[in-house]
């Protein structure tokens, strides 16, 4: 764990209000695991903002290794960060928290992303070994809000308007492709691409197949999954070994201030230090109001 000033190497708005930012952070890149996070100090704000690691690139010149974060502009902190460009330096604290874990005998991994919750799951999908079969169910309100993976058909991307050709080129070079082995299933609330509805509508279809489930998304998505899990205990279709990444307002990020404590079936847990990844079944969802 280290606090350092890291240079931004690129900041691209890959879809409206969603930024993909690469940072030169060799110490973090070297050890980051999917689900772990960093915090960023934002000028004039008391609380550092947490961001899960979205992707890592290990450079041949170790000092140039980078990590990417993916964020949606939702408030003062993300707005401040979104306005910074290549060459600017930001105060980063990392590496923080505990990430996702994949059991040694698990083969079929189901990844469930809601909205910006795609961020850590891309890292997980790309970190999996060839022996894993991965299905990624990814939901957003509309096609334009889906992460525009470079390997997906262009129709997935918002078409570039005139004069923006260069920007679009930069966008595409920054985008990630999913490994060929990943089965990608988009879901949109308006049906503009993929299945119409919520990710949790189609989730039951995959529960028989999945050996482990990894989810990142809004609390309501988790609550629906938790209910599904409860109901499934009475049938054979269970959300098995499901890990979720929680986001609550954090103070220190290192387990010192007790600002992010939640109650779980295993007692009080600090989201920043004991999480942010927890077992779905361990969280007392009826108590969660975050």
């Amino acid at each position: 764990m280290k606090q350092s000033l890291c240079a931004i190497t690129s900041n691209v708005e890959i879809s409206p209000g969603i930024h993909l930012m690469w940072l030169e952070a060799p110490d973090i890149a070297a050890i980051a695991q999917p689900g772990q996070f960093i915090t960023v100090r934002c000028e004039g704000l008391a609380l550092r903002r947490p961001f899960s690691i979205h992707q890592v690139v290990i450079a041949s010149e170790a000092k140039q290794s980078q990590v990417a974060i993916l964020f949606k502009v939702v408030g003062k902190g993300t707005l401040w960060l979104s306005q910074h460009q290549r060459g600017d330096k930001v105060d980063i604290l990392g590496l923080l928290g505990n990430g996702f874990s994949v059991g040694p005998s698990s083969r079929n991994l189901l990844l469930v992303a809601g909205g910006i919750g795609i961020a850590p799951l891309v890292f997980l999908a790309r970190s999996a070994s060839p022996q894993h079969a991965i299905t990624l169910i990814y939901g957003a309100s509309t096609a334009k809000e889906l992460y525009p993976f470079s390997s997906l058909p262009l129709t997935l991307n918002p078409s570039p308007s005139k004069g923006e050709g260069k920007g679009e080129g930069e966008k595409r070079s920054n985008l990630l492709s999913l490994p060929d082995s990943v089965r990608f299933i988009p879901v949109t609330e308006d049906g503009s691409i993929g299945k119409k509805g919520m990710v949790t509508d189609i989730l039951p279809d995959f529960l028989g197949w999945a050996e482990q489930v990894y989810a990142c998304g809004p609390i309501d998505m988790y609550k629906t999954m938790a209910n599904m899990s409860l109901r499934a205990k009475r049938s054979n279709l269970k959300v098995r070994m499901c890990q979720v990444s929680l986001e609550v307002r954090m103070g220190c990020g290192i387990g010192a201030c007790y600002g992010c404590t939640i109650n779980t079936r295993k007692g009080l847990k600090k989201v920043c230090h004991d999480g942010p990844v927890f077992e779905l079944d361990d969280i007392l969802w009826e108590e969660v109001s975050i």
């Binding site: 008391a46 220190c252 387990g255 007790y258």
Partner: protein, 330 residues
């Protein structure tokens, strides 16, 4: 690096300069009327609740350079704290309602004190309770425990045996808890005052008379924030304690006022986020300072503040920190 010269990026000044620091005397005695005393190498402490047990930060900054660490508020029995959300950011600071979640004094003695005993930096245990007996029992357990250098009493808790009146808002209750604790410990005791009172001088005089070795001030200021989309309070506990730069002028005023009437050392606390802030408190009459919320924003804040104080002293030709204490009193 040349011996005695440190290069640093100074808080509040954005330039890199060399500071000659080896001739400076920043030592401060926090308990002059206590037989053992409580001598700190420098006046920069961390405030309770923002720095855990010190262990959390030990891999991140050189905590041994701090003047002292005040640990997380500790109660006789473990406490679960308040429901989420516990933190709300406001302009210039932070509202919190952690609710004294802590592992309890027995776990502190078992798991934390042995680590502290190997440290050079003194650790002061912050104690909270809901009855005088609870305070006294918790403090008594710390007697003779290696690694514990002092006690700080958090008297902002409601006294459940007298109908929930906070100890810290009533001079009589504040004095009672102070003398009860003094009776069961040979450690120096500082009392941390609440700002949520009509006349803080009255409380300060009461705890001084009851035997307090020092006074730290201020604790957080009561506050509330509303989530307008949900039409209800932001915090799970409805109300919380305000900290951060927004409360600095209040804290400074209280230090300024209390310094006029008491004769024991004051430790200034409230919104200190750079060396200039700390110096303001010292010039108002504080012998030492505690850095709180700023640790969350910048884990290096306390050490940056210490370096900034050294720079100021060196720059102005001041060799003894004591020469700055209370100089702004008029």
């Amino acid at each position: 690096m040349i011996q005695g010269i440190s290069l640093q990026r100074l808080p509040c000044y954005n330039k890199i300069i060399a500071v000659r620091t080896n001739s400076l005397n920043l030592r401060v005695q926090l308990a002059p009327r206590h037989p053992k005393g409580l001598m700190l190498d420098n006046p920069v402490m961390t405030a309770s609740g923002t720095f855990g047990y010190g262990t959390e930060y030990s891999g991140l900054i050189d905590i041994q350079k701090l003047g002292a660490i005040v640990c997380k508020g500790t109660t006789l029995m473990p406490r679960r704290g308040n429901p989420q959300p516990r933190l709300v950011e406001i302009v210039g600071g932070l509202l919190n309602s952690v609710g004294l979640e802590n592992i309890g004094v027995d776990a502190v003695i078992r798991d934390k004190a042995p680590i502290w005993a190997s440290w050079r930096v003194p650790v002061i245990v912050n104690i909270a309770g809901e009855t005088i007996a609870e305070y006294a029992s918790a403090v008594a357990k710390l007697e003779g425990i290696p690694g514990v250098s002092g006690i700080e009493l958090n008297i902002s808790c409601p006294n459940i045996s007298v109908g929930g009146i906070e100890f810290g808002v009533n001079p009589k209750l504040a004095a009672e808890v102070t003398s009860a604790v003094k009776a069961v410990t040979s450690l120096p005791v500082m009392v941390k005052l609440s700002p949520n009172v009509t006349d803080i001088k009255e409380i300060a005089l009461a705890v001084e008379s009851a035997g307090a070795d020092a006074i730290s001030l201020i604790n957080t200021v009561k506050g509330i924030a509303i989530d307008i989309s949900k039409r209800k309070p932001c915090l799970g506990n409805i109300t919380g304690g305000l900290s951060g730069p927004a409360i600095k002028p209040i804290a400074l005023y209280m230090v300024y006022e209390v310094a006029k009437v008491v004769h024991i050392p004051l430790i200034g606390c409230g919104g200190i986020s750079c060396a200039a802030d700390a110096l303001e408190f010292i010039m108002c009459g504080a012998s030492a300072v505690q850095v709180g919320s700023a640790n969350l924003t910048n884990p290096r804040a306390s050490l940056d503040i210490l370096e900034g104080i050294k720079h100021f002293m060196s720059d102005k030709g001041i060799h003894n920190l004591a020469d700055l204490i209370g100089v702004a009193q008029v």
